[in-house]
Amino acid sequence: MWKTIASFLPDWLIIIQSLIIFLIPYFIWRFFIYIRERANIATIKQESENSQENTCNFTGNLNSDLKFIKKEIGHNSDVHFREFNIGNTGIHAVIIFIEGLSDKDLIDKYIMKSLMIDFSNENISAFMTEEGFNNIIKQQVLSISDVTNTQNLNDLVMKVLQGSTALYIDGSADVFILGTTKGKTRSIEEPISEALVRGPRVGFTEKLSENTAILRQQGNIKSLSFIKFQVGKRGNKDLVVAYIKDLANPDLIHEIEKRIKKIDIDYLPESGYVEQLIEDNYLSIFPQLQSTERPDRVISALMEGRVAILLDGTPFALIAPVTFSMLLQSPEDYYERWIPSTLIRLLRFLAAFIALLVPALYISFISFQPGLIPTKLAISIVGSREGVPFTVLLEALIMEVSIEILREAGLRLPKPIGPAMGIVGGLIIGEAAVNAGIVSPIMVIVVALTAISSFAIPEYNAGISLRVLRFMAMFCAAIFGLYGVILFCLFLCSHLVKLKSFGIPYASPAVPFNLNDWKDFIIRVPLMMMKRRPKMMKTKNSIRQK
């Protein structure tokens, strides 16, 4: 009996093979768990190293405190200390400000002049108490709007470095901080990275207060809320979370606030830092926050119940959560009429497909499935590949890499010679390489098509991630042919379906399926039919129009 059973059992070879097939995904799984654990350990370590700030208060003695302040920031050439007497009272005072950051006009006319010349002795009796004196200075003498007090050295240094002027009056430990900031800004310009034919010509600037003002100007939205955070341990920066209070899901806001509070880093030069520090899956190739320069884009995202994050010092605002379809949409889809918009949107999906898969399909057709190309095309491909010394994969890699280099170089080249170099590079790669017989002309067409397609995607970083994935697809195709391309697509789909951006599935509304949200997915239905906000956002109020 054992023999009959044994005859049904597979070979050792098959058992070993099945074991290997089991082990491969297991090891991949373990590998990623290992990476995640390491990342967690690193963050825990950082948290434990939290430094405690030393608090340092003023004493009220001008000379000793001034020494103290000078020790802290006095070595800087741009910090100015101006000592003087208030009126004819003989009270010693000093103002501290930074040249260039503070408005000198304001300081001269409304601070120095009021304190030195316009100051009268009428209320001399009130000088008896320190509090009364400060009140009079604040209420009667200083004719500027933004006046606060501080007794802390660090606070003072921070404010002065941002452009405020500190007024220290001898005998008072309460230092006035006067809002005289006049930072350098540029004028509002059209966003370069997201140019549109139709739509507002306004882009964000590097100044946070201006950006929030631009958002306010987008319409009188009463419930538009700005929550301010301080980020960066060493270089402190303002960060604003913007949302519409009666639309955005409170859980979402809570989650974003939680993640922003977790940021524990020296300095954040750009919102890309914020993006990378709060995103869900840093191993994923897809951007999980949308960055934009366009206020209209931010406002319409807020109107869908999303949340925007604005950082001081960068014109790029972040929008969260993001779905994959958003990366293929442009604000113009809504500004133009629905039929052309739908067609253009379909075109973008096609472009994404081309950018991702066409070289891979070409490789698999040429080296594995020659039967799937029309005969005449097959013949002309054979004719054009005659004499090409490389395999298709190598040929494709050469061309793709050189196109990427050309793109990268075009970005760096100075404006006057940029286009010229682009043309020369393109010609050399396209024309000369073909004539030299290094690559086939059809490969040039394929590569050029994919390069152009990847730029047709409105979101720059989405284009980049598709470009990276294209190389993976090409390798899969070179190893397994169409079978490999299908495997790659399955792998990609399973990743997309699993990925979430702030709790919203990345592939929605396709997965999880939601027919209502399909109105604004691959096609864009007429505005009259888009009566509700996206269901996936779980907004407080879903009715957009009646």
């Binding site: 290997i20 082990l23 491969i24 090891f27 991949i28 373990r30 590998f31 290992y34 390491r38 057709f365 040429i366 080296s367 594995f368 020659p370 039967g371 005969t375 097959a378 013949i379 002309s380 491909i381 054979v382 004719g383 054009s384 590949r385 005659e386 090409v388 395999t391 298709v392 004539n435 070179a478 190893i479 397994f480 042919g481």
Partner: protein
Amino acid sequence: MKKNISGKLALITLQVLLLPFLTGCWSSHEIEEVSLEIGIALDKGYLSSIDKEFEEQDGGYQKNNNITITFQTVNTKGIGNNSKGGGSSEQHSYLNVSETGDSTFQIVREIPLRRDHPIIGHHLKVIIISEELASNYSIKDLLDSYLRDNDIRPSCLVLISKGRASNALETNVIGEIPSFRLTKMVENGYRSNKILPAMPLAKLTGKIQSESSFLLQNVISADGEVKLTGAAVIKGKTNKVVGFLNEEELEGITWINGKVKGGVVKSSVKGQIIAYEIKSMKSKILPHINSGDITFEIKIETEGRLSENWVNRGKPSDNKFLREIEKSIEAEIKSLMENVVQKMQNDLEVDVAGFGNKLKIKHPKVWKEVKKDDWDVTFSKLPIKYNVEVTVADYGAVSSD
């Protein structure tokens, strides 16, 4: 210590991830390293002088040299180098390779012994079988390897050649590929009713399996030129060629089974030529059963235009004259059909016009009875009536004369 273990783990994972690359691209053969076969000609075995030379030098294997197969591949050296110009234009854009043997499949696999590029069948467009071969061997056996091969598309056409099949794969025109020429010619049915509807491998299997007789387009060739002329009759029982229909007989067949998409009927009125261009036609084969006797009635309705009229003082605008023309065309069509039915019933004893199929559909019980005997034999004794109705709907831009 812990770090050491995780480092090892990472290393193992990396090794596992690299495993698929070790296997390499085992089935990858780039398109320019294989030959695309686009046409095949099957002939009775003959040895060329080179073949004989090879055999003298002890090349070859145990075989009877029953079949010679000519493979037509694309000569890629003649194509695609247009940009470089020069002498390539003098070359033919196809390359014919012949190999002799017994098994059609083994012959294909003999090619790698003689050529650097093995042959792949994905783009096979046409198979031509010579009459000599097809009357000795069953078509089923000859095409078996092609029907089994899942590389070859079922849309590949099958033709019969009255002469040597490999001659049909020759041309004198530089740049023309004979296999493509043949497939395009078969598609010309909308201009002539002397062309049978295409018979691809997909349809052919059905015919072979059902054991019913059928027709294959005949192609003849001379000096690099080819012509579609008539059809070969293949008997269902044996799947061998038993005879040929000439062009006029083929016309009759297309009228009977209603496969006319366009073409000309030449007739005469008062001894002068008139030509009728077929615009549309409907044909019905009606089987009748009268107390056990089977009779067939063919009903044809056609509409077209008078394209040519040599008759003196014959005004097509005159209804009487038009009737006359219609009558003469009706008679011509009728005689075409009678002619071919006569040949089918008396000479060849086959039914290739689809009479049996109609009977099967209309009277399945009767069909079950007659099926026991040989239908082709039964058919040859059945009376057939004709009913043709021609309407000249249009006589062109000239109304008088």
